[in-house]
């Protein structure tokens, strides 16, 4: 079945089996392997991408359901070698260890900050509640999102915890 959509600003089309999941289409047809496949049940959030500006789990969506949609993956964030503020935050505040959850975690965080660039800690935790991380205990991820929010507001990010923050 023919499917056409915009992925990271580029028009793509392909002939796919209708049962192809969006995440497999992205990874295997388009070779955009930044989006990870974790649980295939919608639970872990590793496969989070944006479809028409909203964060969704691409493992519970068929590629053909995204016909005509505007899809953004982790690969869309950095431009000309400059990291997106959320990517920079994860780097600066050690928001990852193994990195498996990171693309989904970052896409969920970007969606959160797109709506509210000054979230409270509770709002950050509520915003990333659909993404599991088994390494970090979430603490540094929350700090990373706070860092990114500050950057996006044009403010100086709070100092890292290890330099006398809380």
């Amino acid at each position: 079945m023919e499917v056409s959509m915009t992925v990271n600003g580029r028009a793509v089309s392909a002939d796919v089996e209708p049962r192809t999941l969006l995440v497999h289409f992205l990874r295997e047809n388009l070779r955009l392997t930044g989006t990870h496949v974790g649980c295939e049940t919608g639970y872990c959030g590793a496969c989070t991408v944006h479809v028409d500006g909203k964060a969704v789990k691409s493992c519970t969506m068929l590629a053909v359901q995204a016909e005509g949609a505007d899809v953004k993956t982790i690969e869309s964030l950095a431009s000309n070698g400059n990291l997106h503020p959320v990517q920079e935050g994860f780097w600066e505040r050690h928001g990852l260890q193994c990195g498996f959850c990171t693309p989904g975690m970052i896409m969920a965080s970007v969606a959160l900050l797109d709506e509210n660039n000054n979230p409270s800690e509770d709002e950050i935790r509520h915003g990333i509640e659909g993404n599991l991380c088994r390494c970090t205990g979430y603490h540094n991820i929350v700090r990373a999102v706070e860092y990114a929010g500050a950057k996006m507001r044009g403010e100086e990010p709070p100092p890292p915890d290890w330099e006398g923050g809380e």
Partner: protein, 264 residues
């Protein structure tokens, strides 16, 4: 698998009449497909049927997402919406899907039963409005005919002034309710109690409702009696998520707390 992508309700109901399985947010169906519990041969995607996303007054289109309900729904339904899955799930999952899946744990269902909502269904032949207690008949079982599509939820014209939703689960996010409950109360005291995850279908605790509705200012002993009656009216089972005893206890405590919230 054949996949249809209609843009009109007429084409969608036609596909359903031809045996297609409706697919909206995919948060239930796609999990079953990924686990190979279901292998639908013919699927009709509903994302592009704009009529299903229409929400006017008390008629909520089946395709309205939790995300929209979270921000604009009646109080207890919005509270329930906020606990559905995670932001990604709320962006995808729909109220119509919750109703069609008919899981006893469906987060939207305690509200729908507490306010006596009706389910609007449509086939190529025409539509009908089905009261919730006729629609839900068992665990994931409804009276929806094979050629019918759920198109909207109808709430009553006026909703109770006070409403509260609560849910017990092992996490606060991405969790299937161990117990869910909505309590509503009008200014003149009429109280309703919708229960989830404590029976094969969502239930009403009618005897507890009747008792507490007749009390203008419930005392401590009225509240204790209400809690006990709700527990008695629940019909929970023991499964991998909890035990019958715990659910029976928790649903009484939860209903009482929600009633107290309505009384404040």
């Amino acid at each position: 698998m054949h996949f249809h992508h209609p843009t009109t309700l007429a084409d969608a109901t036609q596909a359903v009449a031809e045996g297609a399985t409706p697919l909206a947010g995919g948060t239930d169906l796609m999990v079953e497909v990924n686990f190979r519990h279901r292998r639908p041969e013919h699927v009709v995607g509903l994302r592009k049927v704009e009529e299903l996303g229409a929400w006017e007054g008390n008629r909520i289109g089946a395709g309205v997402t939790w995300r929209r309900l979270e921000h604009g729904g009646p109080q207890a339904l919005a509270e329930a919406a906020r606990t559905v899955g995670s932001p990604q799930i709320r962006n995808a999952g729909t109220i119509g899907g919750n109703v069609v899946t008919a899981s006893p744990a469906g987060d939207g269902l305690p509200f729908l039963v507490a306010v006596d909502a009706k389910v609007e269904v449509m086939s190529a032949e025409g539509g009908r409005l089905v009261p919730w207690d006729v629609f839900f008949v068992g665990v994931k079982k409804t009276t929806l005919a094979a050629d019918e599509l759920v198109t909207a939820i109808h709430l009553p014209e006026s909703l109770p002034e006070r409403q509260a939703f609560g849910k017990v689960g092992v996490r606060s996010a991405m969790v299937i309710a161990t117990v869910g409950c909505v309590v509503t109360r009008t200014d003149d005291g009429k109280t309703t109690v919708g229960l989830g995850s404590v029976g094969p279908t969502p239930l009403r605790a009618s005897r507890a409702e009747e008792m507490i509705s007749s009390v203008t200012r419930p005392t401590e002993s009225d509240l204790a009696e209400f809690q006990k009656m709700v527990s008695d009216e629940a019909r929970p089972i023991t499964d991998h998520r909890s035990t019958e005893e715990y659910r029976r206890h928790a649903v009484g405590v939860l209903a009482r707390r929600l009633l107290e919230r309505c009384l404040r």
